[in-house]
Amino acid sequence: MGCATSSIRNGEPEFGVVSETVPLLEVADLTVEFSTRRGVVRAVEHVDVRVAKGETVGIVGESGSGKSVTSYAVMRILDRAGRIAQGAVRFTGLDVRAASENEMRDLRGREMSMIFQNPRAALNPIRKIGRQIEDVLEQHSQADSAALTDRAIEMLDQVRIARPRERYHAYPFELSGGMCQRVVIALALACRPQLLIADEPTTGLDVTTQKTVMDLIVELTRQRGMSTILITHDLGLAATYCDRVVVMEKGRVVESAPSRDIFTAPAHPYTRKLMRATPRPGVSLGDLLLEDELELRIPQRQTRSAPCPQGESAAPSHINDGAPLLVVEKLVKEYARKRTGGPLAKIFARQPTPEPDTFRAVDGISFTVARGESVGLVGESGCGKSTTSTMVMRLIDKSDGVIMFDGEDIGAIPAKSFAKLPLRKRIQMVFQDPTDSLNPRFTAARAIADPILRLGGTRGRDVRARCEALARQVGLPLDLLDRFPHQLSGGQKARVGIARAIALNPDLVVLDEPTAALDVSVQAVVLNLLQELKETLGMSYLFVSHDLNVVRLLCDRVIVMRAGRIVEQGPTAQILVSPQAQYTRDLLAAVPHPTFA
């Protein structure tokens, strides 16, 4: 890095910056265009990025910011329809734009390499992983043919894959997501490149796996004196692992500065908005929003609540100390373990299968939800939280245990018959994927009206009036009611889903990762909306999530699950500040938290 004191603001270098060496990567005034059916679209415009040797630069932005396109342009692996229209890309002084395809192929994998999101899909499904690493080594003549296999196994060892000699022969489908990502890292680092571009490498992975993968990347790149570009939407991640951060919005760089400056004193309004909207310890829900967010203002909110003092979570409100609304006791869900090969395999199998015949997704859990309370259900993937919430919703049947809702044993009612009961109105759900949960052939109004038509008892004009009232309540502009889902943005679809869920004034709403698929700024608005609605309508929430920061903001109590069991439960402030169980401590430690000495 050059002199640490000077910084680059608003894309303009300030005088006085002296760098000892030519930067490893220099992107200057880059503009990338795509020719689409609707004409030419500019994905990025006038982008400047500099990466020095040994430096880790984070490129942060929401969807559509152009952060991935920039890196594709650097590697020149843009789609056929894309081209670098303007600007320069220089890698160790070499002009990438003018280089021939042969030269680029030499660079790719050997001097600069890339790892992507969704690691299992990034590997050839029908080729052994060891062979895939060998292909890269062979292409760049990194070893003579006799030594290729050994080098490949060595790489697998370096990325901490156990029993590398055995695993060499494995196929991607036999490995977990975390292991696949390690293989992808091995592929990228096999030829010891100078620059690693990591495009959302941890999205979709569990938070503990995320930490291990990031730590591995940092360790390996530091060891080799490599530079890294980390592309992410997660500001916390960027802050924790990067020296400098470049913030992009709608195809342009809005700010570029060392991590500390970005986080302690962001200059550009967009950066400030992103910073504010990121859920983190020590803030309240209202703090996530900026004062001047006109278009996304929550209708009910008249004045903003004062920010909470450090360390406290959202103040509990309207909690009724009467009988709990939901009581779950020793709930169990068992699935028959799928026999490999079907019934015929039994005839051919040499030895009996050692695993038990059933698999317990939920293994005897008990908890309650009081009226007006917001309870968070957290855990990593496979812990059983979604199965639990689906059982509470009565969409699937339990194997054993009791589910009591407002004094009635709803667990005993089969899922198939529940849809027609009046009780159905009182328990509703907001889904994770707003696109998947809306019928592509229904307009927004029709989707919101569905529960009203089926269970609400209103007809004709009244239905439309009710839809409009609901739309207003969730802040959805009325003219969007007649649109189809593919014509709505992610945030708008989320609002439609919420409007549908509250249409019948339910007592309990189960929210299954409702903001996981949303951009962070949209998430901030939706979380505030959810809090408002809860208070106005007096609902209880069962909030299922893997994101501890979000849970901290919205929930009064937290339940931590692992492998079908509850690890611990209690008030949010207590659990998330001073957890008792080791697992909870591990979870909290794995959440990226920047430390500025």
Binding site: I126, R127, V184, F348
Partner: protein, 337 residues
């Protein structure tokens, strides 16, 4: 691997059972009097009664079925009315002719369609791509018998390049000594070069007809599959690792793209076996297809039944082969994780 093979074979058994039951129903559970069908249109009442007893058609249905299965197990498919020969014998004699034709047609189509599809996918919007798309859409609309006739008209009548469509071999030549029944192979084995050339000449047009017919679905599927695979994440990784274009296309893209194509082959075989019948009629080819058609015209029922059964059994075997081939290419199927 062996376990997968055994499993696949076991899965084929219900199909075979289904085939036997359906052919039984088709031929014994006919509207009207099945015995009359088998006796033929010119039969007297006594002849019909004789057939009825002989075939066991006077017994209850389940006994008939057992009788039927027993016959099949012995390889007895009944007798042809017109030739008096056993149907099984006729089919056995004629099968190589159909097989030679169909196989050659398949080879021709794959040899053209697969490279065409790959080239079209790797060079989108080029001339090759447009050609491929036109061939796929148009080729699938061509009636196979029509193609055959057009080819005859152009190459035999107008240009005189092809010989008269009168069967497997010109009258001047006699067939080579029987080894496999495939004239091409047998003539080479016997060292009869002239017979080889003559057989080949007769084979060109009908094989080309079948080839054109099978070309369209294979080309279309290859192109679509290659396009999908080339846009996939792992090909992006391969490119980002700097692998040579040939490696990317062949080792990474092609093998993965072939999986849906292999699955399609099952359907292509279904079409081919049907088209075979039509092509044999157009070119007077002495295979089992024309055997069945002649039997139809003469209302000779036993050959038709034998034909349907044989074709179905062959098709089940072919599908089994395709399944195994798929398992060889795709380890996900082999290793039951």
């Amino acid at each position: 691997m062996l376990r997968m093979l055994a499993k696949r074979m076991l899965i084929a058994v219900p199909s075979l059972v289904g085939v036997v039951i359906v052919t039984f129903l088709l031929t014994r559970a006919l509207p009207g009097d099945p015995a009359a069908y088998f006796a033929g249109p010119a039969a007297t009442k006594e002849a019909i009664e004789q057939i009825r007893v002989k075939l066991g058609l006077d017994k209850p249905l389940y006994l008939q079925f057992i009788h039927y299965v027993g016959d099949l197990a012995r390889g007895d498919l009944g007798n042809s009315l017109t030739t008096g020969q056993s149907v099984a014998h006729e089919i056995k004699t004629r099968l190589p002719a159909s097989a030679e034709l169909t196989l050659l047609g398949l080879i021709v189509s794959m040899a053209i369609a697969v490279p065409l599809g790959i080239l079209a996918a790797t060079r989108p919007n080029s001339l090759v791509d447009h050609l491929c798309r036109v061939i796929s859409t148009a080729g699938v609309s061509l009636p196979v018998f029509f193609t055959g006739l057009i080819l005859i008209y152009v190459f035999y009548y107008l240009l005189g390049w092809a010989p008269a469509p009168l069967g497997r071999l010109d009258v001047f030549f006699s067939p080579p000594p029987h080894v496999t029944g495939f004239y091409l192979i047998d003539s080479l084995i016997a060292g009869e070069g002239e017979v080889f050339t003559a057989s080949l000449k007769q084979l060109v047009l009908p094989a080309l007809t079948l080839g054109i017919f099978a070309l369209a679905p294979i080309a279309r599927m290859t192109r679509a599959s290659m396009l999908a695979v080339l846009a996939s994440d792992f090909v992006r990784t391969a490119r980002a690792s700097g692998l040579a274009p040939l490696t990317v296309v062949v080792t990474y893209a092609f093998r993965n793209a072939m999986l849906p194509v292999v699955t399609t082959l099952g359907m292509v075989f279904s079409f081919l076996l049907g088209a075979n019948v039509l092509v044999e009629k157009v070119f007077a080819w002495p295979g089992i297809g024309s055997f069945a058609v002649e039997a139809l015209i003469a209302s000779d029922f036993a050959p038709l039944q034998g034909f349907v059964l044989t074709m179905a059994v062959m098709y089940v075997a072919l599908n089994l082969l395709i399944d195994v081939l798929y398992g060889v290419i795709d380890p996900r199927v082999r290793i039951e994780a």
